[in-house]
């Protein structure tokens, strides 16, 4: 066990408490057996117990400072932020801007952010992956993809 497991235990304990709070608002038992709240309640209880066990088990590691640091290197965190940010941007912009423009932006952000900074291949890949993929999916496979306010 490492200090990360202690943090995980705390987070899961919070999840268990929240899940339990929601569960008690549902019907626990009916005339014909378990109600909608029965399983969620007991699952929340079991999760809470396991989370506490995890916290207790990892307490010695926390005290001794065993294991890797809780956070990755700065460089890795930047790359992760780029990927997460790119996907988050897709969630926000896909329907307003349309598939082609959004995916073009996503490709360029990820490629340039992860170190592919050439002026020819990366833009080409971005174009094929956005406009090309749109054509393949909508025309050949009849999978609808959003076109956005610009019709793109």
């Amino acid at each position: 066990m490492t200090p990360r497991h202690f943090i995980l235990g705390i987070v899961l304990l919070a999840v268990a408490v929240m899940a339990g709070q929601e569960a008690v608002q549902l019907t626990y038992w009916t005339a014909l057996g378990p109600g909608p709240g029965f399983f969620p309640f007991w699952l929340a209880v079991v999760l809470g117990v396991l989370s506490l066990l995890l916290c207790v088990r990892s307490l010695p590691a926390l005290r001794l400072g065993k294991g890797e640091g809780a956070l990755p290197d700065r460089d890795v965190m930047v790359k992760m932020a780029i990927v997460i940010g790119a996907l988050g941007g897709v969630v926000v912009l896909l329907e307003p801007l349309g598939f082609r423009l959004t995916m073009l932006a996503m490709y360029l952000l990820v490629l340039y952010g992860l170190g592919r900074r050439d002026l020819l291949l990366s833009p080409l890949i971005a174009l094929l992956g956005s406009f090309g993929a749109f054509h393949v999916f909508t025309q050949w496979l009849a999978v609808p993809l959003p076109t956005g306010i610009f019709g793109w």
Partner: protein
């Protein structure tokens, strides 16, 4: 005319040039569609149905069936090469298949998946020929109590999925059960954990969840890996060694049995046999600590079970007119569009047609094997693509796959959320397999239990008074004891903590 004569006549029909061509092109198209994450066999089959409308009924159904199991194999390719399950039932292949690819053994992983799929599919089709009608009558005896007990067997195998820590495996399993509570209560129709979001009324989509946990999670994890710019180790060999074949033989046999018998039961779903096979292989293995680190048994068993299930699922469709899964329901629609009504009378009224279709299953499985093996070097070459480019392409595939589930960006957001969870779980050694297994089993279990209690007016004794249900519950207790003991031994053996 007896069964053998009809089957031989069926082969004669299938071996006509145009039908062979349709089977071949169906396998190719199915594989290409199956490679696209999120576009699984069901969606892939539905997308390609229009292509078959211009064909005669026999050719159309031959092509559609080929698309179906081509798509099943296509999902395997991305699971092994990219840790990105093409569809939910391929997720278990990620556990060891991807690790094999990381060790430069993508070729053997793809090869054993193809061979196992062929053997499983052929055995299931032979079972269809010989045992369809008697086994269907047994499958009809499965009611809610039997379903619940069958799922209990699966749940008890969860302990066998532990590796580093039993506590972490249990946490993963309980989280999966809890996540499955999201949505509408299956009996009373009450919303649970929906937080007033319409999108959550149907529950969390399994495809978005597994794509996030395995695909996005792995991408985030790989960003921290130092070393070569390409995604994987250089391929060591594309061929299976004698040890690979020896280690895979028994898992393939067991996977065929699991997939075949579960395919007879409508409503089980393709994910259950693959996970059961994986959990079983880990439980019976003399070296369970190798699972999750590139054990070929972890690919051979589940992939065989997957394809055996896919072929066996046709049995309730053809003999009873009951589609066992989403894809067979779509195929049922295609059959009806071509003037054929699945059910007991199909074998009597349309024997030449149905036996031609069954013969095409044998031939289609062989075509899939012949098609997939030579392409393995091409698929493995994908691993040489520089990491940044591969990441961008995989992200785009995930976006399309997630969006195409419900034409909603909510599923992309869900996939991203679970991607972060998958990354965090990887950093804290929380295994993903128990979560996915319980997530899939929980809705079936809860619905079955509550329906059983409604049947018995609240008496739990119904689970023990029915012979099949009681037998399965006894099996589940035995499985729980054995898999727990093995898991404790395995965890202690790998210096983990119980």
């Amino acid at each position: 005319m007896d069964t053998l004569q009809y089957l031989l006549a069926g082969f004669a029909t299938v071996f006509q040039i145009q039908n062979l061509a349709f089977a071949f092109s169906g396998c190719v198209l199915g594989m290409l569609v199956g490679v696209l994450p999120g576009v699984g066999p069901a969606a892939g089959t539905a997308i390609l149905i229009p292509l078959t409308l211009v064909l005669d009924p026999t050719s159309a159904v031959i092509m559609l069936a080929a698309i179906y199991y081509g798509a099943m194999y296509g999902g395997t390719i991305t699971s092994i090469l990219l840790n990105l399950p093409g569809e939910a039932s391929s997720a278990v292949t990620c556990l060891d298949g991807y690790e094999m690819a990381r060790q430069g053994r993508a070729g053997p992983a793809l090869a054993i998946a193809a061979i196992g799929s062929f053997i499983g599919g052929t055995i299931a089709t032979a079972g269809l020929v010989v045992l369809a009608i008697p086994l269907s009558s047994i499958a009809l005896k499965f009611g809610p109590p039997e379903f619940f007990s069958l799922m209990m067997v699966g749940l008890c195998l969860v302990m066998g999925l532990a590796s580093q820590s039993l506590v972490l495996a249990l946490i993963s399993a309980v989280l999966g059960l809890l996540l499955a509570q999201v949505g509408i209560d299956p009996v009373m129709g009450v919303p649970r954990y929906t937080f007033d979001r319409m999108e959550l009324l149907d529950g969390l989509g399994i495809v978005a969840v597994v794509m996030g946990l395995f695909g996005i999670g792995e991408i985030l994890h790989s960003l921290g890996e130092k070393g070569s710019a390409s995604a994987q180790a250089a391929p060591r060999s594309l061929l299976l060694s004698k040890a690979d074949i020896r280690d895979s033989a028994a898992p393939i046999a067991r996977g065929s049995a699991i997939g075949f018998f579960l395919g007879l039961i409508p409503g089980v779903g393709a994910i259950v046999p693959t996970y059961l096979s994986y959990a079983l292989e880990k439980s019976v293995s003399k070296t369970p600590e190798r699972f999750g680190k590139g054990a070929i048994q972890g690919v051979a068993g589940p992939e065989t079970a997957n394809n055996a299930y896919a072929n066996a699922a046709f049995i309730p469709l053809f003999t009873l007119g009951i589609p066992g899964a989403a894809t067979t329901a779509i195929l049922m629609g295609a059959l009806m569009m071509n003037g054929l009504i699945p059910g007991p009378s199909l074998f009597v009224e349309q024997p030449r047609f149905i036996w031609a279709v069954i013969a095409s299953f044998f031939v289609g499985n062989l075509i899939l094997l012949v098609l997939s093996l030579p392409f393995i070097p091409l698929w493995v070459a994908v691993l040489k693509v520089p990491r940044a480019i591969l990441v961008a392409i995989v992200l785009a595939m995930c976006v399309i796959g997630a969006y195409s589930i419900n034409n909603s960006v909510f599923d992309i957001g869900l996939m991203l959320f679970f991607g972060v969870i998958g990354y965090l779980f990887k950093k804290t050694d929380v295994p993903l397999a128990p979560l996915v297994l319980t997530f899939v089993l929980a809705p079936l279990m809860e619905r079955s239990l509550r329906q059983s209690l409604e049947m018995s007016q609240g008496e739990f004794g119904i689970l023990f008074s029915r012979p099949i249900s009681a037998s399965l519950l006894v099996i589940s207790i035995v499985v729980l004891i054995v898999s727990t003991m093995r898991a404790v031994r395995a965890v202690r053996g790998s210096d983990g903590e119980v």
